[in-house]
Symmetry: C2
Subunit: 468 residues, 2 copies
Amino acid sequence: MNTTTSKKTKAALVTEKLNQLVGKENVFSVLEDRICYSYDGSKQKYVPDVVVRPRSTHHVSAILQLAHENEIPVYPRGAGSGLTGGAVPVKGGIVLDFTPMNHIVEIRPEDLTATVEPGVVTQTLQSEVAKYKLFYPPDPASAPFSTIGGNVAECSGGITGLKYGVTRDYVLSLQVVLADGSVIHTGRKTLKSVTGYDLTRLFVGSEGTLGVFTQITVKLLPLPEKIETLLVFFATTQDAIQSANQIILNNLLPRALEFIDKSSITCIQGYKQEIQIPDEVDALLLIDIDGRETSVKAEASLVKEIVRKNNAIRVTSAENAQERDALWEVRRAISPALYNIAPYKINEDICVPRSRILEILERIDGIHKRYPSLKVASFGHIGDGNIHVNVMYDKGDQQKALAERMIEEILSNTVEVGGTISGEHGIGNVKSAFLPLEIPPRELEIMKNIKHLLDPKGILNPGKIFLE
Amino acid sequence: MNTTTSKKTKAALVTEKLNQLVGKENVFSVLEDRICYSYDGSKQKYVPDVVVRPRSTHHVSAILQLAHENEIPVYPRGAGSGLTGGAVPVKGGIVLDFTPMNHIVEIRPEDLTATVEPGVVTQTLQSEVAKYKLFYPPDPASAPFSTIGGNVAECSGGITGLKYGVTRDYVLSLQVVLADGSVIHTGRKTLKSVTGYDLTRLFVGSEGTLGVFTQITVKLLPLPEKIETLLVFFATTQDAIQSANQIILNNLLPRALEFIDKSSITCIQGYKQEIQIPDEVDALLLIDIDGRETSVKAEASLVKEIVRKNNAIRVTSAENAQERDALWEVRRAISPALYNIAPYKINEDICVPRSRILEILERIDGIHKRYPSLKVASFGHIGDGNIHVNVMYDKGDQQKALAERMIEEILSNTVEVGGTISGEHGIGNVKSAFLPLEIPPRELEIMKNIKHLLDPKGILNPGKIFLE
């Protein structure tokens, strides 16, 4: 009883101190508020002890100093849209809600850079820079709601990865608050810099376990003049994959090159009847081509030629925003549609060398045969080898255990063919048990040592990446 | 005397052991051989105790294990073309000459990757992948002789940085031998991967101080269909810089956007009389535009329009390889030409946000007024803000000291305007005294701790990056 009391007293004291540090209006300790921060896109539930909404780097620094002194876990959180549990407070403690720190500090067209606070929604960044005809290329499916801070923490990818790379390729400089509250700066706001070790990219993708970002400077590109979208129907998966390969072997680099399999198509049709796809269609490719108007035209006709040679059943193309949007509706409908066939879903994001895509899909089919009660649908960024394999299952512990066993087999097979267990979602606590499948002991040890170096008390997003 | 004897005996024993490990034919201990490895592009001279030419990862591992046990410094070396002393054996010990490990392990067009040994010359990599219509974009001036291992160690930049980024943006995966001889693998040979911390980019740019690469997998792009080169004459520096800014503000991203100042022009004319540049020309821009044929045409005419609006005196364009080469001769002639006006030269590679280029050039002019006996010439990658400022001086310690003082002022001013003291050459031992100008104490401490973590005995390229 004494322990509980002293724990309660300590919690009360910490809340009191937090009130002083950042103002009562930014500290939330009643249960109803805390429950809102107990889950994220991974659908787990861990209720934090307190939620704080910092308004400045100074706030973040003060909070971390307090947390460090008292060894309280801290979980930075953006929109909570992450799929591997990056934002769930698995060990209680303080959730830092960055949504109020959503200012675009500056956009510098001449320098091709933008500096933003971590709570800026990714799509807001994209549309704000577009006003200057500038382009922030990383485009995760979550862009309409996820924040740039979360994107940097997870090193988000998305549909533009093949042509434009991922978040890490665009981060030039970070302001980071370390575990003890000290504020550091990494990199420079210049397009090149090689002074000392690359701390910037050590923090990118570190999932909130090494430091907390309070300012992010990204590199921008000129906004492409034109985008054309092609939706292509195929009678076989082989034809679709062969087409994707031929596109790349013909020296084309589409802005997006997405694949949708038969199971996904079936789900979409059950979910949105207005999307009409003939029965004989077994696979789709959805392709965005961008650039100067003249080159988009040339490349689109090359792509059409290639897919026709590879037995495309139908090619629909769209050039204006509204028509393009309609074609992309097919892709957007998948995730909600999958819930129509089973109430639970595990969404993986394996990535393999492109030449191994057909092999991994065949292996997954083979594995599936041994789990007949589960449903599987695969779709995603075939252009960069990053496939979202979804395993759907019914209610019940047995079904869940089966799904998890099947996922483990898929991940092992992915590593066997030279792939990675996470192309863009990160590890979080959802995949930490699988990390050793890919990362050997010595490499894991180096990573853990770096973690210990930067966060010796282990207060930053504990329970993530590494299995304890 | 005893110490000397025992040191000699130890050296002899180590050489004997090296002979056993990698074969006598790969170990060089006579002075004449060792002198060849005593210098690099930084023109310092430190003679190593022994030079070893490893032929395999196994060799490198065995050598490092031996060095680790005996606490002998090890210096990985490619072509020795680095400009900041990365390859000079400042504390004696073993130079590892990677030039025999120059095999292209595989080129995978479908995966858009190539895997190579570190001793492959960068231009060889470029031309080998070009046979598959593929493109390795980083293009340092040293590409015809520097090795990819050195490029990765220094995170080389070059003329394509504005449009295509730098070496770090292309490295997917590394095989690394650690200080104790253990072999690790970082990253995956996939276009996306976010499993654990980004060890790959921790090693890229670490200048041989954290580990020794034995295999490198890079990402490739499709080879651009066409390149057009424009050489533009301006009567004032302002017009040239204004033109460069306008090009970027008009949504254009040239493959190369190079600036050459009046001093450089004067030097070139003294050096190569066949290059004819009218007297009234005070600045040049050399511009490469690449992409699909149709878009190159469109963009080149836009660029011509912009430079004419900004008072260009003359625009010469070239589309075929031979003519383009002739225009680039102007740029290539600068470095040798600079030695014509003074026997010694310090070549800096500051990088500033593009909007601060004119300001930094003006500041450098101002500083120069206080060092009238020195000559200054500036040229370089204006597109990404990376300017090579060259300070030339005559023989004598006093002149050298003056040049070094002037350089320090230039570097301080660079940091003041938000720039970096090294855009692409690295720190080595040449700039380690200046590193604290840019990197604050806490950030430096983190870097040193990482160094200690991976190389606790400090045997890997000691004396580089950090001032001791």
